[in-house]
Amino acid sequence: MSSPGGLVVIDWIVRAAPPRRLAALRVLVGAYTVGFMVARSASFWQMADQPAWQTEGVGVLWFLDSPWSPTLAQSLFLTTLLLGVLFTLGIGFRFVGPVFALVFLVVSTYRMSFGHVIHTEHLVALHLLAIGFARSADAWSVDARHRPEPPVTHVRYGIPIRAMVLVLVITYVLAGVAKVRHGGMNWLVGDVLRNQVAYDNLRKELLGSPHSPFGGWTVRFEWLFPPAAVLTTAIEIGALVALFSNRRITRLWAVAAWGFHVMVLALMAISFPYPLSFVAYACLFDVERGGEKVIQAARRRTGKTSDSKSERLSAAISGGIPPING
């Protein structure tokens, strides 16, 4: 479908996708978030005990200047967990979808409001907003069990997925730009990355925290770091290929970005769990196919046939708007 020149780039976001793809992303991102909250529950829980003088509201809680009561903070955490389960299962999604996305944003913002912004939850919070405010429970949900699944691909399912991709790309590009902007060429060709790895591990040792002996060992090899710095920046700014390249290159980028996070974990004992889980990159893939295979395998075991009518209709063209990855 043609567009006036200036709108071509913006029209990139208008693509159709099957409802199952968005549903699969709802399940993956929802389950990841619930798992993350359970795994980091001690940190969320302990925020209730932070001293008042340390409170420094950020983002949607910019006005915060004293901590919430432990009862409020811990009740909100438990409520968010429950909403996360409902979100993942697709129960009452018209209400639960946006509410969970917003409440998770508030709860995770509260965790950041005590003196330092950690960068582990930014992307997942933004992805939840994209999923939560879309019709992400039209398939593979408790809500959809007793109503026919929408048979065709549609932009209402594709736009949120493209929004997730756009957010993913922007976060990586910004990280790459920040390195060049703040560190200058010295970041790329000098000792900055080597110093970062050494300092970060040393600080962890001096603060009695787990660190990376492997990272400490590698800083002895000065020659390793300039190429690693160039590669890091290339992967971050190279996220742009996910917007304009074919599927194969996009997926190669996703694997490279995942490998970058594995190296960060190995060298600095810093975990970015959302990309490390690969769920962050799921929006770049036809994730519904994995779910369909699992369901088909289960049906074969139980002797049930597939809903072939719906699948045949899914192949129909959606108003001339090309499908994602199509």
């Binding site: 208008v14 990280a175 009695g208």
Partner: protein, 154 residues
């Protein structure tokens, strides 16, 4: 005009507005403001011009025999995030030399094994590269405040 084409056109415009908004709000505004926040950020992790010799603000436990034990992030800040602990010590030093934090830690680690020990809020400087080459003497060490761990019965 059919309902489907109207829906498609409206959705197309919605997509354009959404895409532009994402670009501006998530991509442009953080750079223009140059401010790290949540969920909008410039993602400045590891981007500073770090040198090998940088200060580390921390808290340590000095036993009655003079032996220095490193305190964990949870003991320092009540939270297991190392960056939050480091930032807490930094801000506490700027606030009152770390005296309040020292007392907070003393209460947090109350334990008969620590009775009589001293907590020190310190800024230590090491050459981080040299540290991993085996040269672990501090370049400087400043004690901002210290306090005694009270007895369990007190």
């Amino acid at each position: 005009m059919t309902d489907a084409s109207t829906d498609s056109r409206a959705t197309r415009w919605f997509g354009r507005v959404l895409g532009t908004s994402i670009l501006v709000v998530i991509g442009v505004i953080p750079i223009v403001l140059d401010r790290d926040s949540y969920p909008l950020s410039t993602y400045p992790m590891f981007s500073s011009r770090r040198t090998a010799v940088e200060p580390v603000h921390t808290a340590v436990l000095v036993g009655s025999d003079g032996e220095v034990d490193r305190l964990s992030p949870t003991q320092i800040s009540g939270n297991d995030e190392v960056i939050i602990a480091a930032q807490l010590v930094y801000r506490a030093i700027g606030r009152d030399g770390g005296a309040t934090l020292c007392d907070d830690i003393a209460r947090r680690i109350l334990d008969p094994r620590h009775e009589g020990a001293t907590i020190e809020i310190v800024t230590e400087k090491y050459d981080a590269i040299a540290w991993y080459e085996g040269r672990r003497s501090p370049i400087s060490r400043v004690v901002h405040s210290s306090c005694r761990v009270p007895g369990v019965s007190s």
